[in-house]
């Protein structure tokens, strides 16, 4: 589980904020991850937010709330939001919820250009 903010890291390139989350996302860790991400998004209001989830080993339905909540937050100020390179653990839950119909999912191994 994610016990501190150390497993959420950020990269800013031009108007794109790339957020890397790794480890385990459950109800316990989601609260801390949410706070860290929201503080950063609200401070910078980036045009584009990419939530990179390739290193997430475990995610339950609490992760769905985390993704949907950030999508809604970015949408509020007319930014764009996408999930980038979701791990198999993330894809399984997202598919179960039909979330890929609502949220853009990008898959690339290339560096993201802002």
């Amino acid at each position: 589980m994610i016990k501190n903010g150390g497993l959420v890291t950020y990269e800013k390139k031009n108007e794109t904020l790339l957020i890397h989350v790794s480890g385990e996302i459950d109800h316990h860790s989601a609260a801390m991850v949410r706070k860290s991400i929201d503080d950063r998004i609200l401070a910078e209001r980036p045009e584009r937010v990419l939530l990179e989830l390739s290193s997430v080993d475990f995610m339950d339905s609490s992760g769905l709330g985390l993704i949907m909540g950030r999508f809604a937050l970015v949408k509020q100020y007319c930014g764009t939001f996408a999930v980038l390179d979701p791990s198999p653990a993330v894809v399984r839950i997202m598919k179960l919820a039909g979330m890929e119909r609502m949220i853009s999912v990008l898959r690339t191994k290339n560096k993201i250009e802002g």
Binding site: M1, H27, H28, A30, F58, D60, S61, L64, I93
Partner: protein
């Protein structure tokens, strides 16, 4: 349509665990159950299914059953004949008024938080059978049944 699981299979090994309903125990519970089930040599996917279903059930105890209080969560894991895993997660919390409604996808009573309402759907999808019995004011028992590969 999933086949119903034989509930009368002989128990080959069993563990019981009591944990306080602290959110940090979500990870502890799923890791502990997975460790106990590992003696049956499940596939990585089966283990991932079990961990996810247990995480959902334990989270429900913390978020819904006990809400702002801390109560006891009792977890029983039975490894039965025929590679059947039976996991019972019991609380003595507030109970569920309408179990049928609670099991519907996207239903949640937590309007202020970011609950997706997908907990029971995940448990149902990742196990062969899910049983929920609840009494308001008395608590809830969730039973997850999963048959492992031969």
């Amino acid at each position: 349509m999933k086949n119903r699981v034989d509930f009368t299979a002989a128990i080959e090994n069993e563990m019981e665990w009591r944990l306080p309903s602290l959110s940090v125990n979500e990870g502890v519970a799923r890791a502990g159950v997975a460790l106990f089930c590992a003696q049956l040599n499940p596939t990585a996917l089966e283990l991932a299914d079990i961990k996810c279903a247990v995480s959902e059930a334990v989270t429900n105890c913390i978020v819904h059953a006990y809400r702002d209080t801390v109560g006891e969560i009792r977890i029983t894991v039975k490894l039965c004949e025929g590679r059947l895993v039976c996991i019972e997660i019991r609380d003595r919390g507030c109970g569920i008024a309408d179990v049928k409604q609670a099991r519907e996808p996207l239903f949640t009573t937590d309007s202020e938080g970011e609950r997706s309402g997908m907990g029971f759907t995940v448990m149902e999808s990742f196990c062969d059978e899910l049983r929920v019995s609840s009494r308001e004011g008395r608590g809830t028992t969730v039973t997850l049944l999963k048959r492992l590969h031969k």
